[in-house]
């Protein structure tokens, strides 16, 4: 019963996120609006961590598992990436290095500046 009740809270936040997405007609996905909403509710103390702790643990512990069907869906798209996987992997490698370097250096420079 407890888990169902906790799940109900999370589902209500999900539904509100979808509702906001349609109401405001913006390009931010309903799930992401739900995330912002939940963060707001936690910060304002309307929802306490222990009210959703069991469901949180279940969802976060199995996060990777929920992506299996989405990944398997790649089977329907082999034609789209056929013969392109080497450039795709190259793009991902270069881009990932660039992101790490630009992010890290920006933070390091700004932190030094703030502490001076």
């Amino acid at each position: 019963m407890l888990i169902l009740r906790q799940f109900l809270i999370v589902l209500a936040v999900c539904l509100s996120g979808e509702f906001l997405n349609r109401l405001l007609n913006i390009s931010i996905p309903g799930n992401v609006l739900g995330m912002i909403l939940l963060l707001t509710l936690l910060l304002t103390g309307v929802i306490k961590l222990e009210m959703i702790d069991k469901v949180t643990k279940f969802l976060l512990d199995h996060l990777a598992f929920f992506f299996i069907p989405a990944g398997v869906g790649i089977l329907n798209n082999v034609d789209a990436i056929r013969g392109q996987w080497i450039p795709i992997v190259t793009v991902i490698i270069i881009s990932t290095i660039l992101v790490i370097v630009t992010t890290g250096i920006t933070i390091q420079l700004l932190k030094k500046k703030e502490s001076v």
Partner: protein
């Protein structure tokens, strides 16, 4: 085969390969042998070898997929737990994640152009640095192919975990906050598992970056794609 025409089939092979993946990862501790990657490869192998239609798998698969929504929303919880660390270094952290997220989006658009990768695939690679539930949503929003996005996200995550610490060392990124945010912004939860091994601050910062980078990319991706 009729026996496959149930939701149980997709559920069972997904859980089966995930358990195998977890066991392999725990035993070897090799980042490349990521449980999600092993599960995807395993399920794809079974479907291909036995020539099983995706529609059969999806009966169970769709049940699993449902949990992605609540899983995205619940990412607010780790973000909430890190909020004091964020407040302490607010400007550098937010500026760093914004710069990193812009770099991620722009570099993918420019590089896919240089390599002549077709548009639908190129667009699918744009959200590769953010966490999967948000990345899938962004992909849908900007007209990408979510399945390709998931593949790119998993690959990026594994890559960030494998090369992240080395890249930081080469470019003299030593500050613990900077290292954590850099790895988290570039390679979401999979990178974060590595950042946690580097230290408590790095891990906490990396997990903070997952949520913030996701939010910033949601806003910036459509804008930057329209501009370029």
């Amino acid at each position: 085969m009729d026996i496959l025409d149930t939701p149980y089939f997709g559920l069972i092979i997904s859980i089966f390969f995930f358990e195998i993946g977890l066991a392999i990862y725990k035993k070897t501790k090799i980042t490349l042998l990521n449980p999600l990657l092993i599960s995807i490869v395993g399920v794809v192998a079974v479907l291909t070898i036995f020539n099983i239609d995706m529609a059969y798998y999806n009966q169970g698969g769709n049940l699993i997929l449902f949990f992605l929504g609540p899983a995205t929303v619940i990412l607010a919880v780790p973000l909430y737990k890190q909020i004091s660390l964020l407040k302490k270094n607010f400007v550098p952290i937010i500026a760093g994640i914004i710069v990193g997220s812009i770099t991620a989006i722009v570099s993918v658009i420019v590089l896919t152009n240089i390599f002549g990768i077709n548009d639908a695939v190129a667009i699918s690679l744009v959200p590769k640095s953010v966490t999967t539930p948000i990345g899938v949503e962004i992909s849908r929003q900007i007209g990408g192919i979510p399945a390709i996005t998931v593949g790119a996200i998993v690959l990026t995550g594994i890559l960030g975990a494998v090369i992240g610490p080395g890249v930081c060392k080469i470019f003299k990124i030593k500050d613990e906050v900077a290292v954590g945010i850099a790895i988290g912004t570039a390679s979401h939860a999979l990178g974060t598992t590595k950042a946690m091994e580097l230290g408590e601050t790095q891990g906490a910062m990396s997990s903070l970056a997952i949520g913030v980078a996701g939010l910033i990319t949601v806003i910036l991706a459509p804008i930057l794609i329209n501009m370029l």
